[in-house]
């Protein structure tokens, strides 16, 4: 009886995984923003970031045409052949087969949000059905949302069981578990939820900050809390989980700061798109613009880059 009390469940979980001091985290990540990345190291970082982008379109108005142009951009971000392809395109389940057709057997993966994204408020059976359909249509990766309601109510076993069910439905597809940090609110909750998710994930799966559909998305702070959770989990179990901050990362400068956090928290083994991704869309062109600037010495107008609508 007592053990089932949500209050005890929370206390036990925090006790097990440890708590987080918000001010301390913010102080730590502020140090990443003072790193000065120049010349060759900057080019390396920018290219690495390009290769980690999950180029995303998640709109009600998405069409096969829009997805086709997204895929083309993913395969060839810029004219310069020295620039790598992005890691994946990320679309809604109904667009998976169109995306699959365009990226074919290139290195670019097809990721699909599923499980009644972004709220997750559908019966489990429906959510699992959505996952299976997306995988069947050719998705290499599934981005699921956790049951935040169950988590906040202290029903961790339900959160865990649902993730485990999605893992099973994924088959060979990799899974990215979205915690939706803005709804969890505290760093303590974010750390705890990371551990709940990692406990049932497989090597090569990811945890992810957010859907991009709420007020607060990826920040250096919540990214750091999750990186540290991944690190502690890896050192305890030997299972390496990946990380994907999503939403809110729009500039190359931000992306480099996130990568510095990875370098200094998880080390070299996570500086790869198999273990770190950026969920973003406008970030890609800013990365390309900075790369061009390193090459030519001057900034080019946004309209020199494909798929960029802004102009001066």
């Amino acid at each position: 009886m007592v053990a089932k009390s949500p209050a005890i469940a929370f206390r036990r979980l925090f006790d097990e995984v440890g708590t987080v001091d918000q001010i301390g985290v913010e102080e730590r990540v502020a140090k990443f923003t003072t790193r000065s990345i120049k010349k060759a190291s900057k080019i390396w970082g920018l290219k690495k970031a390009v290769s980690m982008v999950d180029l995303t379109t998640l709109e009600g108005k998405d069409t096969p045409g829009k997805v086709a142009s997204l895929c083309q951009k993913a395969l060839q971000p810029h004219d310069d052949p020295g620039i790598p392809t992005v890691a994946a395109v990320c679309v809604y389940p109904s667009m998976v087969r169109h995306a699959r057709k365009h990226v074919a057997d290139s290195a670019v993966k097809v990721a699909s949000v599923a499980t009644a994204f972004p709220s997750g408020q559908a019966p489990l059976k429906t959510r699992l059905g959505e996952v299976r359909a997306a995988v069947q249509d050719g998705a290499d990766e599934i981005d699921m949302v956790i049951n935040r309601g169950a988590f906040l109510a202290g029903d961790f076993s339900r959160v865990e069981d649902e993730i485990a069910a999605v893992v099973e439905a994924c088959g060979v597809a990799a899974l990215k578990v979205i915690l939706e940090v803005s709804e969890l609110e505290t760093f303590d909750n974010i750390r705890a939820a990371s551990f709940v998710a990692m406990g049932v994930l497989r090597e090569g799966d990811f945890i992810k900050t957010s859907t991009g559909k709420t007020s607060l998305n990826a920040t250096l702070g919540n990214n750091q809390v999750m990186l540290e959770a991944i690190r502690d989990f890896y050192l305890d179990t030997g299972i390496a989980i990946g990380m994907k901050p999503a939403g809110g990362i729009r500039t190359a400068k931000q992306a480099l700061q996130f990568l510095i956090a990875v370098k200094e928290t998880l080390g070299d083994a996570w500086l790869t798109n198999e273990r770190y991704r950026f969920g973003a869309s406008s970030l890609l062109n800013d990365l390309l613009r900075q790369l061009e600037k390193e090459k030519s010495g001057s900034y080019q107008a946004p309209y020199y880059f494909s798929e960029a609508a802004e102009s001066y």
Binding site: T19, Y234, G238, D268
Partner: protein, 503 residues
Amino acid sequence: MPSLAAKKSTRTPARSGRPAPELIFGDLWEFDPAPETADPKLKSRYDLFIDGQFVAPKSGRYFDTINPANERKLAEIALAGRDDVDAAYQAAQRAFDTTWGRMPGRERAKYIFRIARLLQDRAREFAVAETLDGGKPIKESRDFDVPMTAAHFFYHAGWADKLEYVAPGHRVAPLGVVGQVIPWNFPLLMLAWKIAPALAMGNTVVLKPAETTSITALKLAEILQDAELPPGVVNFVSGAGETGAAVMSHPTPVKIAFTGSTEVGKIIMRSLAGTEKKMTMELGGKAANVVFDDAPIDQAVEGIVNGIFFNQGHVCCAGSRLLVHEPIADLVLAKLKNRLKVLRVGDPMDKNTDIGAINSKPQLQKIQELVESGVKDGAEMFQPACRLPSKGYYFRPTIFSGVTMSHRIAREEIFGPVLSMLTFRTVDEAIEKANNTAYGLSAGVWTDKGSRILKMSTELKAGVVWANTYNKFDPTSPFGGYKESGFGREGGRQGLLDYAKLI
């Protein structure tokens, strides 16, 4: 405590048969050099600053000041003798009698405010000069030393016209001429801690900067001229120990303020015993940083690193004794080691450098000697495998574990990037160990439990107790020690009162 048992049981070691998982902090993404390039506008020779003018020392003698990062000479600094110190005190007395001591506080405030603004205008130049002369990383002089120096002048400018409220029930008056000697670890900031309250209260000053770091004080003299501070209000006499002794033993000053080692502090106190001179002493420390098992561990680790490796550990309030609750000792040590692997040691002028150069060769030798004693006494040493520049004075960040209270490295102030880790089992044991030192300048407590913070801050005999943070400073907050860490306070209302006569 059931929580301890729970915590231990979750830390299951990796499955046997497989190597323990490790993080790789290698050179996959090496950072290119990112040197700060602002011009420090150094002169090749710096004279004394007496009575508002730069004057050559009467002896004609100069000494070299070098850049500890590469051992190259930066400039020549005037060596003040007894006659020069005497001239400085005469100027200070004259200024006190004729201008500064009689000036209304609201007028003095304008000058102090102007000093702060002028320093902000030249912040980058001063940050570079501070780093060149002292060896501290440019990011620290840029983000901490210079802004904090300006903040102290601003804060005390604010007090100068409100002195009737500083001691309710009393009127206050300046003491007169004060003699001040400052150390080399925060040359500009220590100067501001000394000068700003003295000036706000209406005193005049003769100050000796440390011999290895005189440049920024003498550069600040240029700002004092630009601010049109009346001649003689502030005088700088540079030199080594003998000059310091002349500043301390001169009959003119009514108050002596010293920041430096406990050893020198004792000599000064002995020499001043029996005189009517007031004193404040801010001396050494061997602070305990106490980490309980319920602390947010990653942030505690960050605080431990910040506490001991800030400014190469050349900090009198450095958290040099780490006291860790036994159940989490291994975990904290493992996390510390990983954190140390990503600290960047090297050229202080590089914007990415976390740990710069040791201030001087004698200081480096002292650190080496104490570290050798730690190894000989049987403590276990860890140093990350970072490359050090071939020229200059550098020392790897170092952690000793398995240290006991009787080890020299647990008792003596090392004043370098060296952390001694001890363990404790109960709150009482933590307090006893923390207080088992001749020093008492600062301490840190890391715990999730608020009541424990309050208990510790009452029981720890230290002038500053930081809770879930470390090395935080503010002009409004008084700073100073217990026991052999000194007496008197700097900063805040309390610091101001140490420069006042209550009527």
